[in-house]
C-alpha cells in the first residue's frame, strides 16, 4: 500500500499546507473585517470546470495508485512470472506522445484564436489517440497469440487490466473529444470551445503521464 | 428534565449492568491474563470518561435549560481549556496503548521451546497435524490433497513421514507448556478461536499463520470458527483437551503417522466376507438394507463414513441415547469388530457388493424439498452422491433411514455426545428443518436424484 499512501500523503500535505495558510490566524468570529476584503471567489482563480477536472484527476490517480499498490504486493508472491512487453508498445508510446503534443498545439491555437490550426491539430490529436488504442489492441493480440493469457499468470492479468483501464480512460476522453470536434466541424467559434479544448489538453497530458508511469513499471518488473 | 433523568439513569444503569451482568469473560484457561488486565484497564479509563462526559452533559442540560430571557454566554473558544483536555486525553490514551503494545510484543514472539501443532481448516471441519519425532513438519501442497492424503503432505519430503495426523476435530494440548499453533486452510478463510484462551487468528488459504499460548487450566474447551466461511460456518466446531504432559504424550503416541497410514494395507474383502456374516443378518447379504429390522443399506456408501460410524458406535459416541432404540441395537454389534483391521476388511467387502438404488418409500413435496436441499448440497453434493472428505452419500440409499436419522439428529438422539463433532454439525443442520413434513419433503427430493 506504500504507493497509495505516498500519493495520499502528497495530496494531504498540499491540502494541509494550503489550509494552514488560509485558516491558522483567522478568527472567524471576528466580523469586523470589511466585506471587501472577503470577495466572493473560489480558492483558485480558475474555472470551476478545471477544478472539477483536477479533482477527477486526483480520483483517477488514487485509482491507479491503488492498482499499482496491488501490483507491487501481488508481485512479491512466489508465482509471479514477468511477461515480455511487445516492442509495439514503444511505437504506441510515441503515438500517444504525438497525440498529447497535438493537443498542446490545439490549445495554443485556441488561446490565440486561430480556428483553422485548432481544427487541424484537434483532428490530429484524436486520430493519434485512436491509433494508440488500436495499437494497444494489437499488442494484446500479439501477447495472447504468444500464449500469455490472462489466466496464465498474475503478471499477465495485471498487464491486461492496467492497459485496459488506461485505454478506457482515454476512450472517455475521446467521447469529450468527439463532442468538441463535432462542434468545431459544424463551425463553432474558438471562444465557445476553448474551455473544452483546454480540459482535453490537460486530460491528455495527464493520461500520457499515467501511461509513461505504467509502461515504466511494466518494463522494470 | 426527563432527558436529564434519563441520561443519569442510563449512566447508572450501564454501570449496574456492567457490574451485575452474569455475561462476562469465560474463566481464563491460558497464560494471557495480561489481555484480561488490559481489558480491565481500558474499562476503567473509558468508564471514567463515559461517566464524566455524560454526567457533565446531564448537568449542563439541567443547569442551562431554556429560560425566557436568559442568554447564553458568547465564548468562541478557550485555548487553555482545550489544550488541557487534549493533554489529558493523550495521557489516558497512552495509558491504555502502552500495556497493549507490550502484551502484543509477547504475542508476536513465540517461545523457543513451544510444542508445535498445525491446525488445518476446511469447509466445515477441523483436523490437526503434529511434527512427529523429528520436530519438523513435512512440506504440504494443496494440489496433493486427496482422499488418501487429506493433509496434502509431500510424500517425497522425509520430514513428513513421522508427522502425526489427527483426522478428527479434537486436539489435545499439554498443561503449562507453551503451544504454537500453525494455522492452515484448504479452502476459504477460517478463524481458530477458543474463548477461554482469549487469543484467535485467521486461517488463510495459501499461507500459514500462527498464534501461541500456554494452557493453564485442565479441561475441555470448544473450538469455534469465527471467520465467516460459508453456510455451515456456525456448525464448524471442534474441541481442545488440556491435559497433563504425560497424558498428552500418550495421546500423541496413539495417533497414526503419515508413513503408517500410507503403508497400511487396504482392507481384504475376502477376509471381510467372513466378518460380514454377522452384519448380513440385518443389513442383508448384499448390504441392501432391510426396513423391517430398521437396518439401512450399506452398499455404495462412502467407506470413510462407514468406518467413522462403526468407530463412533464402538467408542460410545453413537447409539447411547436411551431413546435411540436402533442405535442401541447397533452399538454392541459394532463392538464385535474387535480391531481396525477387521473393520477395514468388512468395509472392503461392502465395497464389492452390488450397489442397487434402494426403492423409494417416503412421499413429500418434491419442489419444497428441492429448496431445502440447497443447504444440504453444500456438503452432500448437488447430486446427493456425497463429497469425499466431507459428507456421506444420500441418493440411492434408504430414504426411510435418512428420515429417521434426520429426526434423531433434530431431537438429539444422535450427535449429542460432545465428542461426536460430525454429529453435532448435522444436529445444527437438521434443526433448520421445521417439522416432519419438511424432512419428508427433502427426503422425497433426494429420492429423485
Amino acid at each position: 500500500m506504500t504507493i497509495a499512501l505516498v500519493f495520499l500523503a502528497i495530496i494531504m500535505a498540499t491540502a494541509l499546507g494550503w489550509l494552514v495558510r488560509q485558516t491558522l490566524n483567522t478568527q472567524p468570529w471576528n466580523a469586523n473585517d470589511p466585506v471587501e476584503n472577503q470577495p466572493g471567489r473560489g480558492v483558485l482563480n480558475i474555472d470551476p470546470a478545471k477544478i472539477g477536472l483536477l479533482s477527477f484527476i486526483a480520483v483517477v490517480t488514487s485509482l491507479f495508485a491503488l492498482f499499482l499498490s496491488a501490483y507491487m504486493m501481488r508481485m512479491k508472491l512466489g508465482d509471479w512470472r514477468p511477461l515480455p512487453e511487445p516492442d509495439l508498445l514503444w511505437a504506441n508510446t510515441a503515438i500517444l506522445v504525438l497525440a498529447s503534443f497535438a493537443f498542446q498545439l490545439t490549445r495554443n491555437a485556441a488561446t490565440r484564436g486561430r480556428q483553422a490550426a485548432m481544427k487541424i491539430w484537434l483532428l490530429v490529436g484524436g486520430v493519434c489517440t485512436a491509433l494508440f488504442l488500436l495499437g494497444q489492441l494489437v499488442a494484446w493480440q500479439q501477447l495472447s497469440t504468444g500464449g500469455y493469457l490472462i489466466t496464465g499468470n498474475p503478471a499477465n492479468a495485471f498487464f491486461y487490466l492496467l492497459t485496459a483501464l488506461h485505454g478506457l480512460h482515454l476512450l472517455g476522453g475521446m467521447w469529450v473529444w468527439g463532442r468538441t470536434t463535432a462542434r468545431v466541424l459544424s463551425g463553432a467559434d474558438v471562444e465557445s470551445v476553448r474551455l473544452s479544448v483546454e480540459l482535453c489538453t490537460i486530460y491528455w497530458h495527464y493520461l500520457l503521464l499515467v501511461w509513461v508511469g505504467l509502461f515504466g513499471l511494466l518494463l522494470s518488473t | 428534565m426527563p432527558l436529564v433523568i434519563a441520561l443519569i439513569l442510563l449512566v447508572v444503569g450501564s454501570l449496574l449492568f456492567h457490574f451485575l451482568s452474569p455475561w462476562t469473560f469465560t474463566p481464563l484457561a491460558s497464560n494471557w491474563g495480561m489481555i484480561d488486565f488490559t481489558v480491565d484497564l481500558t474499562f476503567v479509563v473509558t468508564g471514567i470518561v463515559f461517566v464524566a462526559v455524560n454526567l457533565f452533559m446531564a448537568y449542563a442540560i439541567y443547569r442551562f435549560r431554556y429560560k425566557e430571557g436568559a442568554r447564553a454566554k458568547y465564548e468562541p473558544e478557550n485555548k487553555k481549556l482545550e489544550i488541557w483536555l487534549t493533554v489529558l486525553t493523550t495521557i489516558g490514551v497512552a495509558a491504555m496503548l502502552a500495556p497493549g503494545l507490550i502484551v502484543w510484543a509477547q504475542f508476536v514472539n513465540v517461545p523457543e521451546n513451544a510444542t508445535e501443532i498445525e491446525v488445518v481448516g476446511q469447509q466445515w471441519r477441523w483436523t490437526f497435524r503434529l511434527p512427529g519425532e523429528d520436530g519438523k513438519f513435512g512440506m504440504t501442497d494443496s494440489r496433493l490433497i486427496s482422499v488418501d492424503n487429506e493433509f496434502g503432505i509431500n510424500p517425497d519430503d522425509p520430514h513428513g513421514d513421522d508427522d502425526v495426523l489427527v483426522d478428527d476435530a479434537i486436539v489435545h494440548v499439554p498443561l503449562n507448556e507453551p503451544v504454537l499453533f500453525w494455522l492452515r486452510s484448504k479452502d476459504v478463510l477460517h478463524n481458530f478461536t477458543v474463548a477461554q484462551f482469549r487469543v484467535k487468528m485467521d486461517l488463510v488459504p495459501g499461507m500459514e499463520t500462527y498464534m501461541w499460548l500456554e494452557p493453564t487450566r485442565l479441561g475441555e474447551y470448544e473450538i469455534l470458527c469465527e471467520e465467516l466461511c460459508g453456510v455451515a460456518h456456525h456448525a464448524m466446531r471442534g474441541r481442545v483437551v488440556v491435559e497433563e504432559l504425560e497424558d498428552y504424550q500418550a495421546w500423541v503416541a496413539s495417533q497414526p503417522t503419515f508413513a503408517e497410514l500410507q503403508a497400511k494395507p487396504p482392507g481384504d474383502p475376502v477376509l471381510g466376507a467372513a466378518s460380514y456374516a454377522v452384519c448380513a443378518a440385518c443389513h442383508g447379504s448384499q448390504g441392501e438394507g432391510l426396513l423391517a429390522l430398521n437396518a439401512p443399506k450399506l452398499s455404495g456408501q462412502d467407506p470413510r463414513y462407514l468406518k467413522r460410524q462403526l468407530r463412533n458406535y464402538k467408542i460410545g459416541l453413537r447409539g447411547i441415547h436411551e431413546d435411540d432404540v436402533n442405535g442401541r441395537i447397533m452399538a454392541p454389534m459394532a463392538a464385535t469388530l474387535v480391531n481396525d483391521a477387521i473393520i477395514d476388511n468388512v468395509i472392503a467387502y461392502i465395497g464389492t457388493l452390488p450397489d442397487t438404488p434402494a426403492a423409494a418409500t417416503v412421499d413429500g413435496d418434491i419442489a419444497h424439498g428441492a429448496k431445502l436441499y440447497v443447504l444440504c448440497a453444500n456438503c452432500h453434493g448437488a447430486d446427493g452422491q456425497g463429497i469425499k472428505m466431507n459428507a456421506p452419500r444420500q441418493a440411492g440409499m434408504n430414504d426411510w433411514y435418512l428420515l429417521s436419522q434426520l429426526k434423531n439428529f433434530k431431537q438429539g438422539l444422535r450427535g449429542h455426545h460432545p465428542e461426536d463433532l460430525g454429529g453435532k454439525q448435522m444436529r445444527l443442520m437438521a434443526q433448520t428443518l421445521q417439522d416432519d413434513q419438511a424432512m419428508r419433503d427433502v427426503v422425497a427430493y433426494i429420492n429423485t436424484l
Binding site: P48 | L375, N378, Q434
Partner: protein, 587 residues
C-alpha cells in the same frame, strides 16, 4: 479573459426555471430536488435493510422457529443489510441527500457547479440500487459473503449467491462509485469555487466542513473498493488469481494459484475504514450545527473542530489494518496500526468535549432536533469508547469477531449517525417543506428510539465478552453460553423489533405533516446560517431571488453581547447597530 468568480458572474448567468413536471421533479437538475430524490431512495432501501435486520434478529432470538430463514437466507440478510446500511443508505443520505440540499444553500450559491452531472449522479445511484435489489430475484439470490465480501469464500460454492448475487453486488458497487464520484466532484468544486461574497472557508458552518472532508475521503477511498471489486470480478469470471490461492472447493482442486486473500482485505479496508468517517464526518458536522442553534450558543472551539475534522480525515487513511489484527497479516503491523488508531481517539475526543462545552452556559431548547443531537452525543461517546477496546490490538484478540464488534459498530456507525439523520431531518424539515412536523410525535420517536436502541446494544457488548461469535446462524448448544444468554438474545430481538416498528412514527410524521403541518415561516429556529435566510420557503429554483446574499460574519453568532436578538444571521452587515439588527431575510 480574466477569471471571474461565480458569485460575481451571477447577473450574466441566465437561470432557466424548469417548466414541465418532468423537468421539475424527475429529470431535475435542481440540487434541492436531487437531494430529496437521493433522500427518499436512500430511506426506501434503508427500510428494506431494516426489515432484513428484523428477520436476522428473529432467527437469533428464536433460532429455527421460522421456516423462511435458512442459513443461506440468514447470510444473505446480513450481507445485504450491512451493505445497504453502510453504502446505499448512510453514504447516499449524508452526501447525496444532506450534501446536495445544504451545500448550495449554506454557501449562498444558486446550485451546484455542474447541475447536469449532479442529476446523472442520482440516476446512476438509482440504477445501482436497482441492480442491488435485483439480486433478490436471480437464481441463488443475493450474495451471502458478508458485507466485507472476503474472497475466496465470496466467489466459491458453499456461500449463497456465488453465481449471480456476487456479480450483481460488485456491479452495483461499481455503479455506486461512479455515481458517488460524479456527485462528489460536484460537492468539492462547489464548495471551493461557488461560495458567495464574504463566505470564506472559515466562515462556513461545520456541516459543510464535515460534508466537504467526507466527500474528499470518499473520492480518494472509493477507488480502493473499485479496484478490489474489479479484481474479484476477474477472479470470478475470467479465472485470474489476484486473490485466489491454490485451494480446494467441494472436494476438488481449483485452477487458481498463488493469489492472496489478504491483499483483498488490505484493499477493502483501505476503503472500508475511511468509509466509517465518510459516514461519521457529515454527522459530526450536522450535529454541531444542531447543538449550536438549539443551545443558542456559538459552537465551542470552532477552529479546533475544523482541525479535528481534517485530522480525523487524514488519519483515517492510516488505520485501516486495525480491522485485520487477527487476519493473519504480518503481526508486526499491529504495533503501527494500534498506535495510529488510538491517536485518532484524541481529535475525536476533542470533538465530543467541544459539543458538550457548547451546551455549557447555553440556553438549551430541548426541541426534537436537539433531543436527537444529545442522543447522538451519548451514543457516539459510548460507541467511540468501545472503539478504543477494539483499536488496541491485544484487547481486540478476545473481542474480534464477537458480538462486541457488532454492538460497537452499530453504536458508533448505526445508531449515532442515524440520530443525526433524524435530528437533521426534523431540523431542516421546515425549510424543505415549509411546514412544521408534529412535535409530540417527534418526541415519542426520539424517546422510544433512543432508549430502545440502547436496550439492544448495551447487552450485546456483554454477549461479546462472553465470547459469542458474530455471523453465526444459530448458537446450538455452545458450551460456554449459559441459558441466560439465550434469554438475553430474545430480549435483544424484542427490543430490535420494537425499535423497528417505532420508525413508523417517523414516517407517519414526515408524510402527514407535509399536508397537515403548521406553516413554518422562513426561520423557525432563529438560526444564523444562510439556508434560513432565503426569500422563499421552501427555496425556489435558484434559491436567492434576484440577489445573491453577501456574508458578513461566521455561522455561529448566537447570543452575541450587545445585540437585542440572540442570533445574527450571517448576511447581516457587521456595522449594523444592535438597535437596528433585524432577523429574517434582509437580502
Amino acid at each position: 479573459m480574466a477569471y471571474v468568480a461565480i458569485a460575481d458572474r451571477d447577473h450574466e448567468i441566465e437561470h432557466h426555471d424548469p417548466t414541465t413536471f418532468i423537468t421539475k421533479y424527475v429529470w431535475s437538475q435542481d440540487h434541492k430536488v436531487i437531494a430529496i430524490q437521493y433522500g427518499v431512495t436512500a430511506m426506501f432501501v434503508g427500510l428494506i435493510a431494516l426489515c432484513l435486520s428484523a428477520m436476522m434478529r428473529l432467527q437469533l432470538g428464536f433460532p429455527n422457529s421460522f421456516s423462511f430463514i435458512t442459513p443461506a437466507d440468514y447470510y444473505q440478510f446480513i450481507t445485504m443489510h450491512g451493505m445497504i446500511m453502510v453504502i446505499f443508505l448512510l453514504t447516499a443520505l449524508f452526501l447525496g441527500g444532506f450534501g446536495n440540499y445544504l451545500i448550495p444553500l449554506m454557501i449562498g450559491s444558486r446550485d451546484m457547479v455542474f447541475p447536469y452531472m449532479n442529476m446523472l449522479s442520482f440516476w446512476v445511484y438509482l440504477v445501482s440500487v436497482i441492480v442491488l435489489l435485483a439480486s433478490f430475484f436471480v437464481p441463488g439470490g443475493p450474495t451471502g459473503a458478508g458485507w466485507t465480501l472476503y474472497p475466496p469464500q465470496a466467489i466459491l460454492p458453499g456461500t449463497p449467491g456465488t453465481d449471480w448475487g456476487i456479480i450483481l453486488m460488485l456491479v452495483s458497487l461499481a455503479l455506486f462509485i461512479v455515481a458517488f464520484t460524479m456527485g462528489g466532484l460536484n460537492y468539492v468544486t462547489t464548495i471551493l469555487q461557488a461560495r458567495t461574497r464574504g463566505m470564506t472557508l472559515m466562515r462556513m458552518p461545520l456541516s459543510l466542513w464535515g460534508i466537504f472532508m467526507a466527500t474528499i475521503l470518499g473520492l480518494l477511498a472509493f477507488p480502493a473498493l473499485f479496484v478490489s471489486a474489479v479484481m474479484m470480478t476477474l477472479d470470478k469470471v475470467a479465472g485470474t488469481s489476484f486473490f485466489m490461492p491454490a485451494i480446494m472447493s467441494m472436494g476438488e482442486n481449483l485452477s487458481h494459484e498463488g493469489g492472496s486473500p489478504i491483499l483483498f482485505q488490505h484493499l477493502f479496508w483501505f476503503f472500508g475504514h475511511p468509509e466509517v468517517y465518510i459516514v461519521a464526518l457529515p454527522a459530526f458536522g450536522l450535529v454541531s450545527d444542531l447543538l449550536s442553534t438549539h443551545a443558542r450558543k456559538n459552537i465551542f472551539g470552532y477552529r479546533m473542530m475544523v482541525w479535528a475534522i481534517i485530522a480525523i480525515g487524514g488519519l483515517s487513511f492510516i488505520v485501516w489494518a486495525h480491522h485485520m489484527y487477527v487476519s493473519g497479516m504480518n503481526p508486526y503491523f499491529g504495533f503501527f496500526f494500534a498506535t495510529t488508531t488510538l491517536i485518532i481517539a484524541v481529535p475525536t475526543a476533542i470533538k465530543v468535549y467541544n459539543w458538550v462545552l457548547t451546551l455549557w452556559q447555553g440556553n438549551i431548547r430541548l426541541t426534537v432536533p436537539m433531543l436527537f443531537a444529545i442522543g447522538f452525543i451519548f451514543t457516539f461517546t459510548h460507541g467511540g469508547l468501545t472503539g478504543i477496546f477494539l483499536g488496541n490490538v491485544v484487547v481486540d484478540l478476545p473481542l474480534s469477531d464477537t458480538y462486541f464488534v457488532v454492538a460497537h459498530f452499530h453504536m458508533v456507525m448505526g445508531v449515532s449517525p442515524i440520530m443525526v439523520v433524524f435530528g437533521s431531518i426534523y431540523h431542516w424539515y421546515p425549510k424543505i417543506t415549509g411546514r412544521m412536523f408534529n412535535e409530540t410525535l417527534g418526541k415519542w420517536h426520539f424517546w422510544l428510539t433512543f432508549l430502545g436502541t440502547y436496550a439492544i446494544y448495551l447487552p450485546m457488548h456483554y454477549l461479546g465478552f462472553l465470547g459469542v461469535p458474530r455471523r453465526y446462524f444459530a448458537m446450538g448448544d455452545t458450551e460456554f453460553m449459559p441459558e441466560s444468554a439465550f434469554v438475553l438474545n430474545q430480549g435483544i430481538t424484542i427490543s430490535a423489533l420494537f425499535v423497528g416498528l417505532v420508525q413508523l412514527l417517523f414516517l407517519y410524521n414526515i408524510i402527514v405533516s407535509l399536508k397537515k403541518g403548521k406553516p413554518a415561516g422562513p426561520n423557525p429556529w432563529n438560526a444564523t446560517t444562510l439556508e434560513w435566510q432565503t426569500p422563499d420557503t421552501p427555496p425556489k429554483h435558484g434559491n436567492w431571488g434576484d440577489e445573491l446574499p453577501v456574508v458578513h460574519r461566521w455561522a455561529y453568532d448566537y447570543s452575541v453581547p450587545g445585540y437585542h436578538d440572540d442570533f445574527i444571521p450571517q448576511n447581516v452587515p457587521a456595522d449594523a447597530t444592535p438597535a437596528t439588527s433585524e432577523h429574517g431575510s434582509d437580502t
